[in-house]
């Protein structure tokens, strides 16, 4: 984490969290508006608000470069906001803002991860934004020069005052804020927002001082003269009550006479101007961090407030709080322990043989409650896939432009919920797969598509659904599909074939693209073709206990299917005994369990055992031998055989006996043991059983791999 001003360390996390969320929101709005090719007033205000909040919090944290960057972006939208109707063809604005938001994200990433964080110099981007703002202004010059003048120009005040005076049907109020509430300028800005949000059809004609968003010293002007707001609305009373109910408003008065209004406006403008010049002389567009840390608490408040109305404007109120994930993990651990301890109490051997009617009843009650508790805790950790899915919009959009392909991204089932830790790890794999679809899947030109009888516009579909403890995510395109001949030729060239090429099934060939060192694109592009993509995706997914398969039909498209567990923390397991050791095998991989006869066993040349089940031959793995355990059960007819299957590979495990099915809470191996490769032995973790003993959880993929 970057070093920040003393006392602000705790705020950095919050800052990063909030700003990242805001930037994502910004991306979302831009994508939506770009698609619809129009900015609604609401969108502009929302963007403006995001920029403003980001700017404010960056200033508070002392990240001056970010603050300036946000400020420039804000300036640009200030112009757009004043003249929304003229902004029909502003494609360059999107590019600029996307670039800016990328820079922002990169910088925040650095702040988060870099100990010796050095602020990046954004002067290039700043120049671009300034140019953008100028272009916007240039476009608007002929139409309404005065209004479009940015707040930075002192002349605007006079104009505004004149406008207020000239407009006969508007109402002007003078608002005073509570003494010592601090940051009056921000409060005034909030007040305007509040009025706009709570009253329909209100038109804010002008306000004085005008530069409340950009000039910290305007707070002093407001303290001295009050904040003067002119508006036009059918229902004046509603506006007034909105003003009254705004936070920190101490009093307000309606100034009725036009003359008086003009006079006062002028006076205020006259007073505001010198203050502005003062700051202009001081140099940077906004005061450096100095005033912000001095009053971090009051500064925090308006930020929170400015968020609230936005949340409520989007429909029903959301009552969300953000919680440190560590605390959730802790809670989760404790609940796991409670469940274990509960079993220890209820099935305590000392109770055996006793008639305990009321005890049994209470125990049942307790068990029900703890189960509820566990479910609730689990559900807290569950988050919808909306976040990572929406991010793909952006990727498709960027690549669409770069690759010159017309593609639409269709998202389905993004409300499916999975464990937070999984969602966090899903971004990279999804991004890779979507890029792959864009780059390799969809045909290079629209003509090719039309020739193949497909619509010119390609479609990439991202869908999610949950099925029995697993989430299935499909990323599919309607592109050219996988050319199996090309794939096998390439695999042969790269020495990836294990048997003669003719013996591979179509499915096997398609899944070859997931092998390490395979990339069908001969040309390395910016997005894919480095040959590290797919196998990394696959291994990342299997680290989370997930799997990746490919299904493709030549000429019709390709689908990548990801299967991931809903949660990593709890496993439905089958308990088995081997000697005096207990193991847990995840139920999801067990195909069947059975007792075999000696004559069903086939012996290969290396003393290895195999068994034939329904025409398929599976190797037999004796767990006691594998893990070096002493067991009295050595005759294959005395024990039990489990057929397990994962990633299309199957194996039979031989154990002493089955104990039963149980939901277990997965615990990682102690840190001290992480220096040894236990995972490679085919064990993914351990769990504490009801009687306090430890059961080792079998990791089927690694077990099959190590065999």
């Amino acid at each position: 984490m970057a070093k920040v001003e003393p006392g602000m360390e705790a705020m950095v996390d919050v800052y990063i969290f909030e700003t990242t969320a805001l930037l994502e929101q910004l991306d979302e709005i831009l994508l939506r508006t770009e698609k619809a090719n129009e900015f609604t007033e609401e969108d502009i205000n929302e963007i403006f608000r995001i920029m403003h909040t980001v700017k404010g919090s960056s200033a508070m944290m002392g990240f001056e470069n970010l603050q300036v960057l946000a400020h420039k972006g804000e300036d640009m939208f200030f112009i757009i906001r004043e003249n929304p109707e003229k902004m029909t063809d502003v494609g360059f604005v999107y590019d600029l803002v996307f670039q800016m938001s990328d820079l922002f994200k990169a910088e925040i990433d650095m702040i988060q991860n870099d100990d010796d964080y050095e602020p990046t110099d954004f002067s290039d981007m700043l120049a671009k934004l300034e140019k953008g703002a100028k272009m916007l202004k240039g476009e608007l010059d002929g139409i309404n020069a005065d209004d479009s003048a940015s707040a930075a120009s002192p002349a605007a005040d006079d104009t505004a005052a004149a406008a207020a005076a000239a407009a006969p049907d508007c109402t002007t109020v003078r608002v005073f804020f509570e003494d010592g509430c601090k940051m009056e300028n921000i409060r005034a800005f909030m007040l305007i927002n509040n009025v706009k949000e709570s009253v329909d059809d209100v038109e804010i004609v002008s306000y004085i001082p005008e530069d409340i968003e950009s000039n910290q010293d305007s707070a002093n002007v407001i303290i001295d003269n009050g904040f003067i707001l002119s508006f036009r609305a059918p229902d004046v009373k509603a506006v007034l009550s909105a003003i009254e109910s705004s936070l920190n408003v101490e009093s307000y008065e309606v100034i009725d006479a036009n003359a008086q209004k003009a006079e006062e406006a002028e006076q205020a403008a006259a007073e505001a101007a010198p203050v502005q010049q003062e700051t202009a002389a001081a140099g940077s567009p906004a005061a450096p961090s100095a005033p912000a840390p001095a009053a971090p608490k009051p500064a925090e408040k308006p930020k929170a407030e400015s968020k609230a109305p936005a949340a409520s404007s989007g429909g029903g109120k959301q009552s969300l709080i953000s919680v440190n994930l560590q605390k959730l993990d802790q809670l989760h651990d404790i609940v796991g322990e409670i469940i274990t301890t509960e079993s220890m109490v209820i099935s305590n051997p000392e109770l055996e043989g006793l008639r305990l009617e009321s005890f049994t009843k209470s125990a049942r009650e307790l068990r029900k409650l703890t189960a509820d508790l566990q479910d609730t805790v689990m559900s807290i950790r569950m988050v919808p896939l909306t976040g990572p899915f929406q991010k793909m919009n952006r990727i498709v959009r960027d690549m669409k432009v770069k690759l010159n392909k017309d593609v639409e991204l269709v998202i389905e089932g993004d409300t499916t919920e999975v464990d937070k830790s999984i969602v966090d790890n899903l971004n990279d794999p999804l991004m890779h797969l979507v890029r792959n679809c864009m780059d390799h899947g969809i045909e290079d030109t629209a003509e090719q598509r039309i020739a193949a009888g497909k619509p010119a516009k390609g479609t990439i579909k991202l869908s999610a659904m949950s099925s029995s403890g697993e989430v299935i995510i499909t990323i599919s395109d309607d592109g050219q599909g996988i050319d199996t001949e090309k794939v096998i030729a390439k695999a042969e060239r790269n020495g990836l074939l294990m048997k003669p090429a003719s013996e591979y099934s179509e499915r096997e060939i398609q899944n070859m693209i997931l092998l390490p060192g395979f990339s069908t694109n001969d040309v390395v592009t910016e997005y894919s073709g480095r040959g590290v993509g797919m196998d990394v995706v696959k291994s990342n997914l299997s680290k989370m206990g997930g799997s990746l398969t490919v299904e493709s039909k030549k000429g019709e498209g390709t689908a990548f299917i990801i299967k991931i567990p809903l949660t990593l923390a709890i496993v439905d397991g089958m308990e088995i005994m081997v000697g005096d050791a207990e193991f847990t095998v995840p139920i999801s991989v067990i195909k069947e369990s059975f007792i075999v006869k000696r004559d069903q066993i086939l012996n290969d040349t290396k003393r290895g055992e195999m068994i034939m089940i329904r025409g398929v031959c599976y190797p037999m793995l004796r767990l006691n031998e594998k893990f070096g355990l002493y067991s009295e059960v050595n005759d294959i007819e005395d024990g039990i055989v489990l057929l397990i299957e994962s990633e299309n590979r199957g194996i039979c495990l031989f154990a002493d006996k089955l104990i039963g099915e149980q939901q277990v809470v997965v615990k990682p191996f102690p840190k001290y043991l992480s220096q040894y490769d236990i995972k490679g032995q085919g064990l993914s973790g351990c769990t504490i059983m009801g009687d306090g003993s430890i059961s080792l959880i079998i990791d089927v993929n690694n077990l099959i791999g190590s065999h």
Binding site: G336, E337, T340, T341, A581, E582, K626, F627, G628, L629, K667, F669, P670, K671, Y672, L673, S674, Q675, Y676, D677, I678, G680, Q681, L683, C686, I688, G692, S693, I694, S695, L696
Partner: protein, 173 residues
């Protein structure tokens, strides 16, 4: 130099001597002592979490022979090290007297199996003899310092080195 100054200096000297004496006499820490074979070893009390018998140990494959496996200490999974075999001594069957001492360093807990816990002794500066740099004994790297007590020499183990064992410094991961 006037008399006042002299007096002050004298007082200062006195105080210094007293301090030095106190330093030698004052208790630095407490050490829990135990047997491994015939030798008495010790672990500083702040590192000790608890002492238990030898519970059921779950064997884990793929780890060195001296780590016996993992145990459940109040819902925490802790690895256990047999000190006899860690120090290259012959292993012995566990008895009623065999103890597991749960120690912790920087958030990492480990159980060490010792022959028998003796008790807790206070340690003064004067008891501490410097640890020999190298006398060719294999397990020297685990010794923090020697204690010369009236009833014999005790070797105080360095818990950090015991946990962050030599060449495999990957625990942090």
């Amino acid at each position: 130099m006037d008399i006042k100054e002299l007096f002050a200096k004298q007082e200062e000297m006195k105080q210094k001597n007293l301090n030095a004496k106190n330093e030698k006499e004052s208790e630095i820490t407490k050490v829990m002592t135990f047997y491994i074979g015939d030798q008495v070893y010790g672990i500083e009390i702040p590192s000790v979490i608890e002492i238990i018998g030898v519970p059921h140990i779950t064997v884990v494959p793929g780890i060195p022979y001296y780590i016996k496996g993992i145990i459940n200490v109040r819902s925490k999974v802790v690895p256990v090290i047999d000190m006899r075999s860690r120090f290259g001594k012959e292993e012995k069957e566990y008895t009623d007297r065999t103890n597991t001492i749960i120690i912790e360093e920087a958030g990492v807990s480990v159980g060490v199996i010792v022959d028998e816990v003796i008790g807790v002794i206070p340690v003064f500066q004067k008891n501490i003899a410097n640890s020999p740099d190298r006398i060719g004994v294999n397990d020297n790297k685990f010794i923090k310092y020697l204690l010369e007590m009236p009833d014999g020499i005790k070797l105080v183990l360095d818990v950090a080195k015991l946990i962050y064992d030599g060449d495999m410094y990957l625990v942090e991961e």
